[in-house]
Symmetry: C2
Subunit: 360 residues, 2 copies
């Protein structure tokens, strides 16, 4: 199965739903020249998938070099970038040497940024191994690293040459990564795909249990939402911002709770509940309650008791998406229809935070 | 006077030949929103031009913050980039905060790369203050920093929103920077503008003396060559490579002599003489000798006695422009007509190095 991402400028690319064993064939079809390649991954993923991928590549004439980093958000740093750069440049690469990002969002963003900036741009192959990466972060060309001031503050748009999505990688994910990853699937349903929403409502138990047939239904459908939106707006000058539904709230809570307390998906789930509540203050749609019920099925730890509304509201104002001092929020007009607005009264934001249980 | 750079994708931009005092008016016309801006410069340039530019900006409602770095190639580093990033993010910027690069090639490349990667891309205003920057490096969107393995190995393409070129900045340049900067002007004449070549031959003495009328003749004409080539090939996938005429030889000699011994322009002048000689081994054109005579008018220090052909040839092979192990060179078919070739016999390269006085 293949999904294509078209782009307003440039040639676009394919998402191949395939086994990692097929990677060499896919690289050949995508016009990549056999030779050296750099595989960037983390120790968790490496234990399961580095060997199979590298063996497949070697057996077809590639010479892979693996750069294996610690797992977790802290790896999305200048130091890790330097490790990749030193390894690549010290080994010897040229402008056709691909960078293969084997992992979740952290590895995809980091290796993607290395590919964006090594020799002013190398071919990038995304091989997403988490649910969030398969339906969201590996598609669309956003790459970057964190800065002490905030997440994703340094980066570039660099579209992959191709994406190879292997569902088998999902079956060995830790439970919490799986369930919290469902937040981004739900998000895509809420902002743009009412049919996906109904599938999620109906099949939730078998999704949580990772039934193979359900995965191969849900993942490409959620990935397609992302692909379609990126096609309309490659560099987030307009439409693409709806993908941030729940994120301005979610980033604030992720930061205030202390990175690592919530997974990204859990924070986004909370953020979506806040954004849904705010939407329900502005628009009349009975489905907002249905949506809230679906989001609540994503398990999450309790809100830490130290979290206060005033701190969250300050954190929201320092978000990267603020322009000219104006907070921009994504709201739903109705299920499946999102929009961006700067017309957001503080009272509405407060009510949203109160709704999800944050104290004054 | 205004020169426009069109681009295959995206809106293109203008080069304004104007006084720094006019900067605020130009920024307004270019649609930049008054507010904070970051001025990146070096101590040499700052002494002459930081105050006038920042005063002009302040008087028209901007709030500039200056980041002043040491002069010289060593500043094109990850450490300097970090200084700019920390200053910008610590101060507080949003996606419309412009980065203003006030300086020569080092500052333009470095500040340009910061603009390319801060918040995944900020508006960049190039204010080139050296001859090389005005006719070459400030135009075309190549940005980047050096790596211990080699120069410009980490970077991005990021086109400026606009370029403000003030001839007055050239009158206070140190003598050696001025004369060696003429190398890039000569290069543009050799690869694409025979009329410019004749102007240079005819007016050389008044060019060296920086007569105002000659400067305002020569600089826009040389800038136009660069603008035209960039318009054809924004990301150096083809035609644009002819701008590297003399550079594969030049980079090798710059490195082997030890960075700082030759200026970039002096090394490129030597490199162009080598490339002209190699061209003359392949094509019959009497003007190659005329061209060599013009290049020799650029003063340069003696070749260091430790330099050897074998080392230079190894250095050429590690150049960033090598693809699939193939050395790519730019040669002239005749005056004003350059092309890229991978069909370069080692014997020709050796003869070229011998011609410019390099020992075996």
């Amino acid at each position: 199965m293949v999904l294509s991402v078209s782009l307003p400028h440039g040639p676009g690319y394919m998402i191949h739903f395939a086994s990692l064993d097929d990677a060499p064939g896919i690289l050949a079809r995508e016009g990549l020249r056999k030779g050296r390649c750099i595989v960037v991954t983390d120790t968790n993923v490496a234990a399961r998938l580095k060997q199979p991928l590298c063996d497949a590549l070697r057996s077809r004439g590639w010479t892979p070099k693996a750069v294996v980093l610690p797992p977790g958000e802290a790896t999305k740093s200048q130091d890790s970038l330097q490790i990749i750069n030193d390894a690549a440049l010290g080994w010897g690469i040229d402008r056709e040497t691909p960078i293969i990002a084997l992992g979740g969002g952290v590895i995809g963003d980091l290796a993607g940024f290395a590919a964006a900036t090594l020799l002013r741009g190398l071919p990038l192959v995304q091989v997403p191994t988490t649910l969030i990466a398969q339906v969201d972060s590996a598609i669309g060309g956003k790459t970057g690293i964190n800065h002490v001031v905030g997440k994703n503050l340094i980066g570039a748009f660099h579209q992959p040459r191709t994406v190879i999505t292997d569902f088998a990688a999902l079956t060995t994910l830790p439970e919490r990564q799986w369930t919290s990853g469902l937040a981004e699937v739900v998000k895509h349903a809420l902002i743009a795909d009412p049919t996906l929403f109904e599938l999620l409502e109906r099949d939730w138990p078998s999704i949580v249990d990772r039934h193979e047939a359900t995965i191969s239904d849900i993942v490409p459908r959620a990935a397609k939402v992302k692909a379609r939106i990126v096609s309309l707006d490659e560099k987030e000058t307009g439409r693409r911002a709806i993908l941030n539904f729940g994120h301005t709230f979610g980033h604030a809570i992720e930061r205030e709770a202390g990175y690592g307390y919530f997974t990204h998906g859990e924070a986004i789930a909370l953020g979506m509940r806040a954004a849904l509540h705010q939407s329900s203050l502005v628009h009349a749609d009975e489905d907002f309650d249905r949506a809230d019920r679906l989001v609540r099925r994503i398990p999450a730890p309790k809100l830490p008791s130290h979290i206060r509304r005033s701190r969250l509201m300050a954190a929201m104002r320092s978000d990267k998406k603020v322009r000219a001092g104006k907070l921009r929020l994504v709201l739903l007009r109705r299920l499946g229809e999102a929009y961006v607005t700067t017309d957001v009264p503080a009272r509405g934001i407060e009510a949203a935070w109160r709704y999800v249980g944050v104290k004054r």
